[in-house]
């Protein structure tokens, strides 16, 4: 069932009427129409291995089509969903995202956002479970600005109880500019032998 795992990991989609997504792939396995399914289950003999091969072929052809499109750089602008500082952001190159609270990187730092949950272009979407394979999509970003938020007044008062408190707070804000989002290597290709990584997760 390796094809199924593959299909679930990378749901790839082309023109809608020729949809080859996972759902479509699974549905095509149905041996009889939905109405008459209850009674005649295994009456028809099904060559499972042939079906599996078909599915595998479909998966491969989808990956190839994506790779071809990326090679010709016809995929257009990529978007990605990244996990950063406990929040998820949907980003595209040129975006500025705001990270609230204490965050160590300083102005001018070039960072790569590695927790990519989802990446997509005009004709395909790669869905991670929960994140895409490391090194498949490279998201580069620069820390642009570090400031404080506006002053937030924290005011509490209870009537007739002589209770009143007022505090002021400003939290650090960091602006991060997304420089580029790129497919670093072919989809479903072999991962390059990785050097011992410095990643924390």
């Amino acid at each position: 069932m390796s094809f199924l795992a593959q299909a679930v990991r990378q749901v790839l989609r082309q023109v809608p009427n020729r949809s080859l997504s996972l759902a479509g792939a699974m549905r095509s396995l149905s041996i009889s129409p939905a109405v008459g399914q209850q009674n005649k289950l295994a009456t028809e003999s099904v060559d499972i291995s042939a079906i599996a091969k078909d599915q595998q072929k479909e998966c491969q052809s989808i990956c190839e089509r994506i790779n071809r499109q990326v090679q010709k750089s016809e995929q257009g602008r990529l978007f990605a969903v990244v996990h950063l500082c406990g929040k998820q952001f949907k980003i595209t190159p040129g975006d500025v995202i705001l990270v609230e609270g204490y965050w160590p990187p300083t102005i001018g730092d070039e960072i790569s956002l590695d927790k990519v949950l989802l990446a997509g272009a005009r004709d395909f979407t790669l869905v991670g479970r929960p994140i895409l394979e490391p090194g498949l999509v490279s998201v580069k970003a620069t820390v642009v600005e570090k400031t404080l938020s506006h002053t937030k007044t924290h005011f509490r008062k209870k009537r007739r109880k002589q209770y009143m408190r007022i505090n002021f707070q400003r939290s650090p804000h960091t602006m991060v500019r997304i420089n580029s989002i790129e497919l670093a290597r072919p989809v479903d290709g072999e991962a390059p032998p990785s050097e011992p990584s410095k990643r924390l997760f």
């Binding site: 989609r13 549905r27 939905a34 949907k90 949950l117 989802l118 997509g120 479970r129 007044t153």
Partner: protein, 150 residues
């Protein structure tokens, strides 16, 4: 305590009255009618406004969460899947996108969202979740036990 002269009998009122009142009037500058000009009215409404602002910061987060669920629900109902089934199906497929991102996708990336709904619905059907009417092809051909997803 011994009061030696008359001015010390007066209760200490903190900073100078003018500046103390001015701070309040500055916050009340855009109010209407006497809440803008009369101190006793102004301070009442300024205190109330500040308390509301403090509470509102928490409520805003709750409101946004509600709005996102509404949007995601509307998005997946287009394809005849309920919100709970959709979320459960995604979670069981190890797709951990949050409500904010899902609502963004539903609005701006409808085709990606459609793919997510399909994954979720298929997973729900495979695992036989009650909301899904159509049974999965997998359950009938192979049986659930033969299904090895990772």
């Amino acid at each position: 305590m011994v009061f030696l002269n008359l001015p010390l009998l007066v209760r200490a009122r903190g900073p100078d009255e003018f500046w103390r009142k001015r701070r309040i009037f500055k916050l009340a500058a855009h109010y209407r009618s006497r809440t803008r000009n009369v101190y006793s009215f102004a301070i009442r409404s300024v205190h109330r406004a500040l308390a509301y602002a403090t509470k509102g910061r928490k409520l805003k987060k709750l409101d946004m969460a509600q709005l996102w669920s509404t949007r995601v629900e509307a998005g997946c109902q287009q394809y005849g899947v309920g919100l709970e089934t959709f979320k459960e199906g995604l979670a069981r497929s190890d797709i951990l996108l949050n409500k904010k991102v899902l609502s963004d996708l539903a609005i701006w990336e409808p085709r990606s969202f459609e793919a997510l709904v399909k994954i979720s619905r298929e997973r729900a059907a495979v695992e036989g979740m009650p909301d899904i009417k159509r049974r999965s092809a997998f359950n009938q051909v192979y049986g659930l036990s033969n299904l090895k997803l990772d």
